[in-house]
């Protein structure tokens, strides 16, 4: 049974909070409600929604609706959610050039975990990573499922500039920089995929619910 707490915030937000854990099943509940609401978006007066690990933030237009009406809709949809089949998660293969100039920290990860560089690549490419949410920067995926054998602490001193497309590890997380930015992740490789391109038809490559597989090229 889906448990959700609904909290109206100020004049135009409703926050739907599920169980506060980072867990694929809880994240699935968030995404399901998000997808259901997308079907009702304009009639319900919903302006924007942000699905995160275990919470859905709903922003609505107070001229069209109020938190009570949006709450009723959310309750109805949660009751129906058992009957809904979530669309198949997209499986996205991301080609990565591991090591070398664009993966300068791969040996740090290897040494920290008592592995060879090839073993790091094998373990990283064997994983299937769920995109829980996007945030921090446009197109930046929060990915779960990094093998504990690859967990490595962040850099002590972050780099002032990390190239977009860099693939990295920070603690128990793995991810891909969607834009150039400062960063403290251990960089193990690089992909040519543009995770964010503001002028493209589809400006962001990934979406919550995608399953990422890295492929060494």
């Amino acid at each position: 049974m889906t448990k959700a707490v609904l909290t109206p915030v100020d004049v135009n937000y409703l926050v739907v909070t599920f169980e506060q854990v980072i867990d694929p099943q809880v994240n699935r509940q968030v995404r399901l409600l998000w997808q259901q609401l997308q079907h009702h978006q304009s009639q319900a007066g919903i302006v924007a929604m942000i699905p995160t690990y275990c919470t859905l933030q709903i922003q609505f237009d107070p001229h069209q609706t109020d938190s009570t009406q949006v709450s009723h809709l959310v309750h109805e949809l949660i009751l129906q959610s058992g009957d809904i089949k979530e669309p198949q998660s997209r499986k996205i293969e991301v080609p990565v050039t591991y090591g070398g100039e664009l993966g300068p920290d791969i040996m740090t990860v290897a040494r920290h975990n008592g592995l060879t560089q090839d073993q790091v690549i094998d373990i990283h490419t064997a994983g299937e990573y769920l995109v829980y949410m996007l945030g921090f920067n446009p197109g930046f995926p929060y990915m779960g499922g990094l093998d504990p054998r690859l967990h490595t602490p962040r850099l002590e001193v972050p780099r002032t500039r990390v190239k977009a497309g860099s693939v990295g590890i920070a603690g128990a997380q793995t991810g891909i920089y969607s834009t150039s930015s400062p960063g403290g992740w251990q960089l193990i490789g690089h992909t040519q995929f543009h995770l964010f391109n503001p002028t493209a038809q589809q400006p962001v490559l990934l979406q919550p619910g995608d399953i990422i597989k890295f492929v060494a090229i």
Binding site: T7, P8, V9, D10, V11, N12, Y13, V15, T17, Q20, V21, I22, W34, V47, A48, M49, I50, P51, T52, Y53, C54, T55, L56, Q57, Q59, P62, H63, D66, M133, L134, G135, F136, N137, P138, G139, F140, Y142, S178, T179, F196, P198, T199, P203, V204, Q207, P208
Partner: protein
């Protein structure tokens, strides 16, 4: 055609009401930090409410009008001259080809908005013309420079020049004098209100805070008191509403504004209520601020009241007969506009 930037000013960017629909992709909303001032400027001109204007921070730009149009200045009280003569804010002015508008220092407040009939017509990026500087999104990659030329949209409606609302209650209230120089900002409970003790809730209203230098379009930091969280638990990243007050690890309150990242992991004790976010947009570093808790019901009352007033203002503007001609009269250093209309 359009306008040309002669001098850029301190930080001048093209802004509209931002891009709301890409937050789930990690794209910040951006847009005018003072949405009220931009909105009123567009309203006075009879513009589409999504029209873009120029957000001028602290020291404004000098611009040249390349073709005749109508413009308005709203927001922070800024020194303003048209062709060397002082002009009033909150008023729509005719500009002729070759006219020079020079904005100087903001006398009070922080951000002044130049709106022009038809709006600034730069290309839409992700549905909006709003500049987002950290990613160089927007016209001319964001920050405007001397020499930049900006096109204006075509404007089909009646030309609303010589509309002045300097003495209107909406503007009076917006400029309301602070009590003892302290700006009163009303807050409602944030998504993590319950993460904090009643003592912490009270601490937020007892102190007089001041706006820290390290404040910008993304967020406003406050000094004056530290707010203790209830526990040390990390918050799992969730959405950040506009005006949300995060408490950072060292207890500093930070209110998240237009350029905020859509998601984050710091607990949000409060949200600055919607009608007071524009007030914060005008608080420069050093400004003293006091927070006051209000209920969501009161917040809704304030919001709908303001919307009614804006609707009345819009009706008044639309109900005015468009003037036939405008004349300029200069008296000493000041410019006045006189219009003639059909009876």
């Amino acid at each position: 055609m359009g306008i040309t930037i002669k001098e850029a000013g301190f930080l001048t960017t093209v802004q509209d009401q931002g891009r709301e629909e890409y937050q789930h992709l990690g794209v910040p909303v951006a847009g005018a930090v003072d949405t009220f001032a931009l909105r009123v400027g567009n309203l006075l001109l009879g513009n589409n409410p999504h029209s873009a204007g120029l957000e001028c921070t602290l020291v404004g730009p000098t611009i040249i009008f390349n073709s005749p149009t109508v413009f308005a200045l709203t927001g922070a009280e800024m020194e303003a001259q048209l062709n060397g003569y002082d002009i009033a804010m909150w008023t729509t002015w005719v500009a002729c080809a070759g006219d020079v508008l020079r904005l100087g220092i903001a006398l009070t407040g922080l951000r002044t908005y130049i709106t022009v009939a038809g709006g600034i017509d730069t290309p839409l990026v992700l549905g909006s013309r709003a500049a987002y500087l950290p990613l160089h999104l927007g016209a001319k990659t964001g920050r405007l420079l001397a020499g930049d030329a900006l096109p204006l949209g075509t404007f089909a409606g009646p030309q609303h020049f010589n509309r002045s609302i300097i003495a209107h209650p909406l503007v009076r209230e917006y400029q309301r004098p602070t009590l003892d120089g302290v700006v009163k900002v009303r807050i409602t409970p944030g998504p993590q209100h319950h993460y904090f003790s009643a003592a912490s809730h009270a601490d937020l209203t007892k102190a007089v805070f001041s706006v820290d230098n390290n404040s910008d379009r993304m967020g406003i930091r406050f000094q004056g008191a530290k707010i203790a969280p209830l526990n040390d638990e990390s918050l799992i990243s969730d959405g950040i509403p506009l005006g949300a007050m995060q408490i950072s690890r060292d207890g500093t309150p930070i209110v998240m504004m237009a350029d905020r990242q859509p998601t984050g992991g710091y607990p949000k004790i409060a949200v600055v209520t919607a009608v007071d976010v524009p007030l914060l947009a005008q608080c420069r570093p050093g400004t003293h601020v006091k927070f006051q808790w209000i209920s969501r019901e009161d917040a809704l009352d304030l919001f709908y009241q303001k919307e009614r007033e804006l609707a009345q203002l819009k009706a008044w503007v639309q109900g005015q007969v468009a003037p036939l001609r405008a004349y300029r009269i200069t008296v000493a250093t000041k410019l006045f506009q006189v219009s003639i209309q059909e009876k």
